[in-house]
């Protein structure tokens, strides 16, 4: 059977051959299919970057907006129509650099959307400058003395913000990537999956092999409901833990909190304003 989210004809994918993004795409296609979602009910939202081109290679509706600005759009889309499955996708620069503030505050709102960050520790599309997750010492044409800023730790950050689903995977393991994607999408609330992804062309340090050598699956006894414990775990580096670090069901979602859905669950576009009520409101100003 064909995957309804895939194209029937061969499409021109602008990623480099061998790029980790292809594997992520495969995992996402499989995850979407296995969740039995309707093609017309899924919206991919992205910014700009190599990762952010993903929507063009999946057959769903999409909003491919500005670099760094995927999350506010995604939040609004879900808020205006909670029936949609909304997935935000972007690069490490996109989501943690330019879009860092939206990440902070989306975490506070907790919309029921899923966020996939392709973490290749580099700016791919702009040809190889450091990303917020680049490791110290990495030299680039801009970071000529090597990166010295402390890399952002998206896991620790997300746990500090109580993002209710915090996971990391390596796209070299397409199976786990897909499984965690499915869990993230099934999770009610804001779910972050940081996906280690080698960039063949511009990251010569964090290669496929490096990721393989420097990651380790979480032990079976890891308790994702223990926030402080998850935080401690999230500080581990080389190997970086893979899997669901933190998961919590304590928070209500943004949409659940919206008064407009308390009595009427229909999406906004289906509603009509009652001009009589507007009239009354005007007349109340007499």
């Amino acid at each position: 059977m064909e995957n309804i989210f895939d194209f029937k004809d061969k499409i021109d994918i602008a990623w480099c051959p061998g790029c980790g993004n292809h594997a992520i795409r495969q995992a996402l296609l499989a995850a979407l299919e296995e969740l039995h979602l309707g093609r017309e009910k899924v919206v991919l939202v992205s910014g700009i970057g190599q990762a952010a081109k993903m929507p063009h290679y999946i057959r769903t509706s999409f909003f491919n907006g500005l670099h760094g600005r995927g999350l506010p759009a995604a939040t609004a889309i879900k808020a205006c129509n909670p029936e949609l499955t909304v997935i935000a996708v972007g690069g490490d620069g996109d989501m943690y650099g330019e879009g860092g503030n939206h990440f902070l505050h989306a975490s506070r709102r907790n919309p029921d959307i899923t966020l996939f960050v392709h973490d290749n520790m580099v700016y791919g599309l702009t040809k190889g400058q450091a990303a917020p997750t680049s490791r110290p010492g990495m030299e680039t044409p801009v970071q000529v003395f090597g990166v010295f800023e402390k890399p952002l730790n998206p896991m620790a950050l997300a746990i500090s913000l109580d993002v209710p689903f915090v996971a990391r995977v390596f796209c070299g393991d397409v199976g786990q990537t897909k499984e965690v994607m499915k869990k993230a999408m099934a999770h009610k609330g804001f779910a972050l999956v940081d996906i280690f992804q080698p960039c063949l062309s511009f990251n010569k340090v964090n290669t496929f092999k490096w990721f393989k050598d420097n990651t380790a699956y979480l032990p079976d006894d890891h308790d994702p409901s223990d926030r402080a414990g998850a935080f401690k775990k999230s500080l581990e580096e080389e190997p970086f833990p893979l899997g669901i670090l933190y998961e919590s069901d304590r928070r209500s979602t943004f949409e659940e909190n919206l008064e407009v859905y308390k009595k009427d669950r229909s999406p906004l576009y289906q509603r009509e304003v009652d001009m009589k009520m507007v009239e009354a409101e005007i007349m109340a100003k007499r």
Binding site: F62, G65, A73, V273, V278, E279, R286
Partner: protein
């Protein structure tokens, strides 16, 4: 000497932040209107929560008048600094009324608002005493005042209600008893059925009537009023009102909302808007509707946060990189504020372009009575289609407008992209298609053409002198020009600024003498006019000290040019 006032009274209340000028204004607004007086108020205040020196002008008139006056007939200073603060406007004609020991203004009429209030149970009632005093002066029916006060404080405790009642009466008696001022002003029963609105009210009601169901913003004077008004309607009208983390988030959220089928309004001020420019460009590229209210204040940068200016036209005209169409409106009256905001939603949905509504602090914070408008005259036009499987969001059409689908409504996919894209919304590097897409977007200028509202000519059709203005200065400029009493002069007011109304050219060329009046330092509309028509307007009346134009001032300045 008895001062007699017959048809137009300018009362100015002055005091520091926290002294409650606003509450006196609120009480008077209602009471004057129900009594059949025309009411206008405008406030100027500092950017602080307590202290400083602020003032509110209250204009009571027999005929409709919503221009701002320099003249102060009666000044009620609530603190000593009020006198220095308003010194340029106080003349020998000004009657100063208040607590002589505190204010110390020579020749003032001593009325001990605070002492009276204290006698009634507390200094907090001084505002109500002052309101009562003015009602007494104006000989409003005492019972009306009493009823209103009980209603006004109806959600407060019995004690507070009765003390305020006593306060209004006490003030009333003092006002009525005052000799030295004789006010006999014509009333007009029709006023009673008028609406009493601030500019923020008008914009907000227009948004309701436009079918607005999503509002996002980030607090910023003077635009916050609309954000808060819309929040107050949130429950009744099922509106999502979201305060976003920053203005960049605001505009991107609003675009997401329109994409998903909502009718979103953004409200901001110049500095917030400056942060949205990239988002505006995105709006142009994905051909999204967007309604954005920008309440102007003096810049650059933080400038004078609580004051007024018309300094952001240039920015709004050109915000965002690249070329794409937009619509810019600037209401001159409350009725226009309502109607243009309502229309903005339909225009934006129809042409799929951003529509900007430019107001300013003077506009949003002023309040006056205006004939009731009928929401029934307005219709919400959604301009959305149910998609088919092969739906293309950017299908190339004759007029550049592609039917707009919504994700989840129909069986198609709705794809939008900030990169140059094909009809399907997918990224392209086909450079011929690029040209067609640019042409498609720019074609909308022609499509919008018939919707353009030409500038409004007020005054002598056989003018020799044409006074040009835009947005919030309408009432003041019209009143000033009328007061000149010259025959061959008219006002040309723009409430639709862009796409520039071609009709303006003929008016402008016909005038032998052209004068522009703008509340900014560089005559931004004059530049736009020259760009669009070639006509240069060298006679410029500009004001940029953060205050609105006053009628007398405009009159004086125009006089110099005729």
């Amino acid at each position: 000497m008895i001062k007699t006032i017959t048809d137009d009274l300018a009362i100015v209340l002055a005091g520091e932040a926290g002294q409650g000028l606003q509450s006196i204004e609120s009480i008077l607004a209602q009471l004057l209107k129900v009594s059949g007086y025309n009411f206008f108020s405008a406030s100027e205040f500092m950017s602080r929560v307590r202290g400083g020196a602020n003032s509110t002008e209250i204009r009571v008139s027999a005929k409709r008048a919503a221009g701002f006056l320099d003249r102060i007939d009666i000044l009620i200073p609530l603190h000593k600094e009020s006198i220095a603060h308003l010194k340029k406007r106080i003349t020998p004609e000004t009657i100063v009324i208040g607590e002589e020991d505190k204010i110390g203004y020579p020749g003032m009429i001593d009325i001990q608002f605070t002492r009276m209030a204290t006698e009634l149970g507390g200094a907090v009632y001084a505002n109500t005493v002052a309101a009562g005093f003015i009602c007494g002066l104006l000989k409003i029916a005492e019972q009306e005042c009493a009823n209103f006060i009980l209603e006004y404080f109806s959600r407060k405790s019995e004690e507070i209600r009765s003390r305020n009642l006593a306060a209004i009466k006490k003030g009333y008696a003092a006002g009525k008893g005052l000799s030295g001022i004789h006010i006999s002003m014509g009333k007009n029963a029709a006023v009673k059925t008028d609406l009493l609105l601030s500019g923020s009210d008008a914009i907000s009601l227009g948004a309701l009537a436009g079918g607005c169901d999503y509002v996002c913003g980030y607090p910023m004077s003077p635009s916050t009023g609309v954000l808060e008004k819309m929040a107050s309607y949130a429950k009744k009208f099922a509106i999502v009102v979201e305060q976003v983390e920053d203005e960049i988030g605001v505009v991107n959220m609003a675009l997401g909302a329109w994409y998903a089928g909502a009718r979103a309004l953004v409200t901001t001020s110049g500095g917030g808007f400056a942060l949205m420019c990239e988002g505006i460009s995105l709006c142009g590229m994905i051909e999204s509707p967007l309604v954005l209210h920008l309440a102007q204040r003096p810049g650059p940068a933080t400038g004078l946060p609580t004051r007024t200016e018309q300094g952001d036209l240039d920015m709004v005209l050109h915000a965002g990189h690249g070329d794409f169409p937009r619509i810019i409106l600037a209401p001159g009256t409350l009725a226009e504020g309502f109607a243009l905001t309502q229309m903005a939603f339909n225009l934006s949905a129809k042409y799929q372009v951003p529509v900007f509504i430019l107001t300013d602090q003077f506009f949003v914070d002023s309040r006056t009575n205006t004939p009731a408008f009928n929401a029934g005259d307005f219709k919400v036009e959604k301009h959305i289609v149910k998609t088919e499987k092969d739906y293309k969001r950017f299908s190339l059409t004759d007029n550049g407008i592609s039917p707009r689908g919504i994700p989840g409504y129909g069986s198609g996919n709705v794809c939008v992209d900030s990169d140059e894209h094909d009809e399907d919304g997918r990224i392209t590097e086909d450079l011929d298609l690029r040209v067609r897409m640019v042409d498609k977007r720019l074609k909308k200028f022609a499509a919008i053409g018939p919707a353009i509202i030409p500038p409004r000519l007020v005054g002598d059709g056989n003018f020799r002198t044409l006074v040009v203005c835009w947005g919030s200065t309408f009432n003041t400029v019209c009143e000033a020009v009328a007061a000149l009493g010259e025959k061959d002069i008219a006002v040309l007011h723009f409430s639709w600024l862009f796409p520039f109304p071609d009709q303006a050219g003929a008016y402008l060329r016909k005038a032998a003498n052209r004068i522009i009046v703008e509340n900014n330092s560089s005559a931004q509309l004059a530049r736009l006019i020259r760009q669009a028509t070639g006509v240069a307007i060298e006679r410029q009346v500009l004001k940029y000290n953060g205050l609105p134009f006053a009628v007398e001032e405009v009159q004086r300045e125009i006089r110099k040019f005729i």
